[in-house]
């Protein structure tokens, strides 16, 4: 009976790992650069609605967000619909005008991204839009998710 002889590898085979830290560092830098840490803490609940015919906004630095939705109250409760800009809830709708006007002065190509909860009513949104018109920030964007088909 013939014996099967195990072939011996001629030399030790090892994957060189000396370049691994370099690769890892490269990945690390990539993610460090692309990471945008969440800038605002949401004080209102925003569940975006879905739509099909949407466009992407590539220039993120032009964006300024306005959040509209039911206020988050302690104890997992939801309150009335409120408007949040940056980090604060805006109680006085009329203040949006000056706020947005200042932002427009800093960034003349400002796009206001309206992130509105799907269950809110149109009334509050239209008040905000009216203020945006007064502040001459005409470019707006209703933030939506892509419809999952």
């Amino acid at each position: 009976m013939a014996h099967f002889k195990k072939k011996n590898a001629g030399s030790k085979q090892e994957v060189p790992t000396s370049a691994m830290p370099d690769v890892v560092f490269m990945l690390l830098f990539f993610f460090m650069v692309t990471t945008v840490l969440r800038e605002v803490t949401l004080q209102v609940r925003v569940n975006l609605t879905q739509a099909e015919n949407i466009e992407k906004i590539e220039q993120k630095r032009l964006l300024s967000y306005v959040y509209i939705g039911p206020e988050r109250l302690p104890g997992n409760k939801l309150g009335e619909d409120k408007v949040q800009i940056d980090d604060a809830i805006i109680e006085d709708i009329g203040a949006i005008r000056t706020l947005m006007y200042d932002k427009l002065r800093e960034q003349p190509k400002l796009i206001v991204s309206l992130r509105v909860d799907e269950n809110s009513q149109f009334g509050l949104l239209t008040d905000v839009q009216e203020e945006l018109k007064q502040a001459s920030t005409f470019r707006i964007n209703y933030s939506t998710r892509r419809e999952a088909n």
Partner: protein
């Protein structure tokens, strides 16, 4: 007498754990990164009306009034429509293939006016707007395919071709203030 100092061992920082540290950081940034592109429906608001300036007259036939009421029912020019029917109706209104005297004269004169009530749910409103955008997208796609053989999205941004298709079907959407 000088005592010869013992030869020092060469000082070296152990670099073998550097990879681990880098991995740790990498995992941290991997987890915290959100590569989310903002998507949404873009719109340009009209400038506020001056008190003493009358809005320009618009021929009734060029205006499509869409009303979304608080129950989410859609009324287009005094007729009820389902959400699914809106797009087809709009395309018919904008293109007006049969030269109907009640529909838009030419596509570039057509104006879509969306009116809502304060209690209208936002979701219904966005669905409605989505349909309007869809109608315009279909029309522009069609025009672009007929003239240049490519869909509208494939045309170069700000190219004369794109401008021409845009001029054929300008998106004229007016968001009216809700009536109480």
């Amino acid at each position: 007498m000088l005592l010869k100092k013992p030869k020092r061992e060469s000082a070296e920082i152990n670099g073998s754990s550097m990879a681990d540290i880098a991995f740790l950081l990498l995992i941290f940034f991997l987890v915290t990164t959100t590569i989310n592109v903002d998507t949404g429906i873009g719109l340009v608001l009209p400038p506020p009306l001056e008190d003493d300036v009358e809005p320009p007259p618009i021929k009734e036939r060029n205006l499509m009034n869409i009303l979304v009421n608080q129950e989410g029912r859609i009324v287009m020019d005094e007729e009820f429509y389902q959400l699914g029917e809106v797009k087809a109706r709009l395309i018919e209104f904008i293109k007006n293939p049969t030269a109907d005297p009640n529909l838009a004269e030419t596509p570039d004169l057509a104006i879509v006016s969306i009116r809502t009530q304060r209690e209208t749910p936002y979701r219904i409103y966005v669905d409605m707007l989505d349909e309007v955008m869809g109608a315009y997208k279909d029309l522009r796609d069609e025009a672009s395919r007929a003239n240049y053989g490519v869909p509208y999205g494939a045309l170069e941004e700000d190219s004369p071709q794109q401008e021409q298709v845009k001029d054929m079907y300008p998106k004229k959407i007016s968001i009216a203030e809700p009536n109480e």
